[in-house]
Symmetry: C2
Subunit: 233 residues, 2 copies
């Protein structure tokens, strides 16, 4: 495929359901995709292997993994010795910001994506944030994304010199988890490659009880589909 | 000293003249300072030792160094195999953004500072950016800082829950290099501990010819003072 005329996009990719679907949408929109994952000391590092599989299956141009040590600050169940909460119901899940929140994580991830975009001269950054079926993280909201985009256009050499205008694309923002599952299936994504669990076992199998597993199961149930990642383990 | 009633601040500290003076101002304003440095693959890693010395001499509460690999993207003379420009005059230095610019560096540094501030519940982040005697980096301008502050107040759990309001403090923004030197001396800072050069030799001695060395020398000359970092090497 001739990709010389395709616009470039940096796509943040964790290897989970949301970021994978977001990447598939960017590909379907004709972007030449440069994926970025993070090794940040997360307890669910198995997601990095999922990200690698997903990037390969979706035909991306490049996939880089940046090592950053978010454990230097602690403060989250995903990076510190704090238990990941299990079996929380919907009301409980949306009633506050949970301990799995990693301080400033999306700000940090988007900042690295901004550096990557500047170097490869991309004008788009895709991020699979979702403000419907989500865990209540502040940095998943549209107000935050808009403020980041505004800041980004004052931050870079290319933007200041007027050569580029950076756009943060959030195609999943208003989708339910069921919409996300359906969209992925319509786009031919192999969801068995994805990994969503915050607290997998030593073999990388999902726990089925953390917020992320519960939201994923809800999405498949409402879409009337079986989760291929469960049937394959 | 009883510091229980002192407000906390995260202070970005490279160990150079500007960030050191900025830290001294934060201390003089009564802040309990938590310093943050970055090991980002810079060719002038000797600055990390300077940061450690400076933090100790100014009596900070804590000093952390985060390892982040900005070389994953390349694109700058400070992190990639690109020559650091030498002996540029004033007009040349301010006529464009130089190759020593690291893509999105201050955005990334401030994002980590934001995470740190959230974990220790600080409402202030001090950064020694300067828009007068500077190298023309876009992320040293007041518009950028204001946009980052706006974004930060939408990004964190504490801000969204209304418990804190984050302020980015830039006390050097409108100072000349001579003002910065004079302020540091007035505050009793030992400037022999600081390191500014982008391209030091194997013994850590400054080259005297990069933009950073030239701006530093200009500051001392205009303040009518000798640079103690030069006389001590």
């Amino acid at each position: 495929m001739d990709t010389r005329s395709q616009p470039r996009a940096v796509c943040l990719l964790s290897g989970g359901l949301d970021s994978t679907t977001c990447l598939a949408i960017a590909r379907a929109q004709g972007f030449d995709c440069y994926c970025l994952s993070f090794d940040y000391g997360q307890r669910h590092r198995v997601e990095l292997e999922a990200a690698e599989r997903v990037a390969h299956s979706l035909g991306v141009r490049e996939h880089r993994t940046a090592r950053i040590d978010l454990r230097v600050f602690g403060g989250s169940a995903l990076t510190a010795a704090i238990d990941v909460p299990k079996d929380r119901g919907g009301a409980e899940m949306t009633s506050g910001i949970p301990v799995t929140y990693v301080p400033a994580r999306n700000t940090i991830f988007l900042s690295f994506a901004l550096a990557y975009a500047e170097v490869i001269e991309a004008e788009h950054i895709f991020i699979g944030v979702n403000a419907i079926d989500y865990s209540g993280y502040p940095d998943c909201r549209s107000e935050f994304i808009a403020a980041f985009e505004n800041m980004a256009n004052l931050a870079t050499k290319a933007a200041v010199e007027g050569r580029t205008h950076l756009k943060i694309d959030t195609p999943l923002l208003r989708m339910t988890k069921a919409d996300i599952v359906r969209t992925a299936v319509e786009l031919g994504v192999d969801l068995s490659l994805t990994h969503s669990c915050y607290d997998p076992d030593a073999q990388g199998r999902p726990c089925g009880h953390c917020d992320s597993c519960i939201l994923r199961a809800k999405g498949f149930a409402e879409a009337g589909l079986a989760d291929p990642a469960l049937s394959s383990t």
